[in-house]
Amino acid sequence: MTLHSPASISVSPRLAASDITIGYDRRVISRELSVEIPDGSFTVIVGPNACGKSTLLRALSKLIVPSAGQVVLDGRSISSYKAREVARVLGLLPQTSLAPDGITVADLVARGRHPHQGFMRQWSPADEAAVIAAMDATGVTELSGRHVDELSGGQRQRVWVAMVLAQQTPLMLLDEPTTFLDIAHQIELMELFTDLNEQGTTLVAVLHDLNQAARYATHLIAMKDGSVVAQGAPSEIVTASLVEEVFGLRCVVVPDPVTGMPSVVPIGRERANR
């Protein structure tokens, strides 16, 4: 008999890293790191520069291979999947991407259909529907025929998000999606991610802005020196002592006046001395 009380049922999540050691060349960034991405969550990874958060995201998306341990996707090691199989389950918005010159918005978004296409199937009704839906969700439909190089930074980033959306994956990883955008475009994009998350996509993002992370994440992972320092709901883990431990920054954490989520206010040098 294998009866469990509901509390003891532990369903393993679709995406997790178990005891992975990752780095570049011979430089190890994280040793024996384990994280689980809760299904249906909007997980945000935060931490100071060079703490290994982007490296972790790259390992989760099979861009780099751990030298020890494994990333598990749907119950088996991600390295046992073909590249195309992974691309049907897990989409990635890379930190840097290049649009070929002269490409139009719709053409770029359509590139996201690649993992679903083949020699015979180059533009099926499903491909078309996915591209239309992705452009609609990101509000770029009216830019559809424009050249990507003519767009503003905010519009361009929405086009790249549309490309990843067109991939129609249940899991989506975002590597610093709001860097280089002004505050209004950052918020617009974060709200778009929240909508996607509410429609059922599991999201994992690396973010720099702690307040945005606390406001939009449903699950927060704080990293320092390649290790996870704390993880959980932002309202439970974002405290002044955690921020000081992770970022070395003295601050006050107050409720955000709009959402009531924790909001970090730095103390700064001069005022701290008073």
């Binding site: 790259r58 998306s61 099979k62 861009l63 073909k82 590249a83 195309r84 199989e85 992974v86 691309a87 049907r88 897990l90 989409g91 990635l92 890379p94 930190q95 840097t96 991407s97 290049l98 649009a99 070929p100 010159d101 002269g102 490409i103 139009t104 918005v105 719709a106 053409d107 770029l108 359509a110 590139r111 996201g112 690649h114 993992p115 296409q117 020699f119 015979m120 199937r121 180059q122 533009w123 099926s124 009704p125 491909d127 078309e128 591209v131 239309i132 452009m135 559809s144 025929g145 424009r146 050249h147 991939q167």
Partner: protein, 350 residues
Amino acid sequence: MSRVDFGSRTAVLRRGPFSIRFRMRTALIGAALALATVVVAVLALCLGDLPLSPVDVVSALLGSQEGLAHLVVFEWRLPRVLSAVVFGAALGVSGAIFQSLTRNPLASPDVIGLSAGSYAGGLIMIIVFGVGAGSVPVAGGAIIGGLLAAAAVYVLAYRNGMHGFRLIVVGIGVSAMLEALGVYLILRAKLEVAMVASVWALGSLNPVGWAQFVPAVVVVAVVFVALGTLVGPMRQLELGDDAARSLGSRVEPARLWLVVCAVALTAVVTGAAGPIAFISLAAPQIAKRITRTAGIALVPSALVGALVLTASDIVAQFALPDNLPVGLVTVVVGGGYLVWLLIHEVRRRR
């Protein structure tokens, strides 16, 4: 017509499990280029010491002409004209692959040392081993030389990944050294051998007959078929390695095979006809400008290459006082284009 606005008229064809989407502009320009190439090729078959009318040429091709016309068209002119078409297409595609992979319009086999490697390899065969230009050993020497030069440039330019600009700088250096080697070999050779070698080294379709054409076209055909499976990954690689990988492309093997195909195309043409300059540099960019595709497209590059080389060979044979090697014409056409491109690039970077 497509329900999605791709910015230009886009047609969709679907039948059963098959579906494809293409830009009308690319298709129409492609058809026009193909037609122009056929017209120019027929014109090339008409011209020569025995002028023939297009009607004579077509009936000779269909086998209803006997005697001299048949001999002239089939044995003398056809291999040369078909070579111009096929070699032009091969060079155009080779350049397109390098320009796409490096995202740099200057990164053609001419610039990055491949052509110089094939040139040196072919010259060594002609001068040191004394074989005739256009023979199989020369082709083999050119292919080996091209591959060795490609490997050398790759190793010298590789540092945490391949970057277009470093590839070009190293390639120019390697080219200069190999060309110096070529000059040295020619200076040391006997006069008759040096003359044969010099003509070959300019790139000429003069020595090309069926014996040179058939093996070369087999290699080109095999590479083109292989490219059919690589064109998808090539499109994805334009988005950057991370995006290509996350969209399910196997980046390293795809890039390696694309380079191998591009090297093989340039080397096999050089082996048969010598280093014909600048087609691989100019054709992809001309194709991009007239079709306005996103990135570099292979088929239009092939068609432009075929048209430019076929037309250049007519100019080389008939429009100039002497029967000059076609390489001289393409150097002038392509060289002028290169100057324009450099000026354009400098202005754009400002």
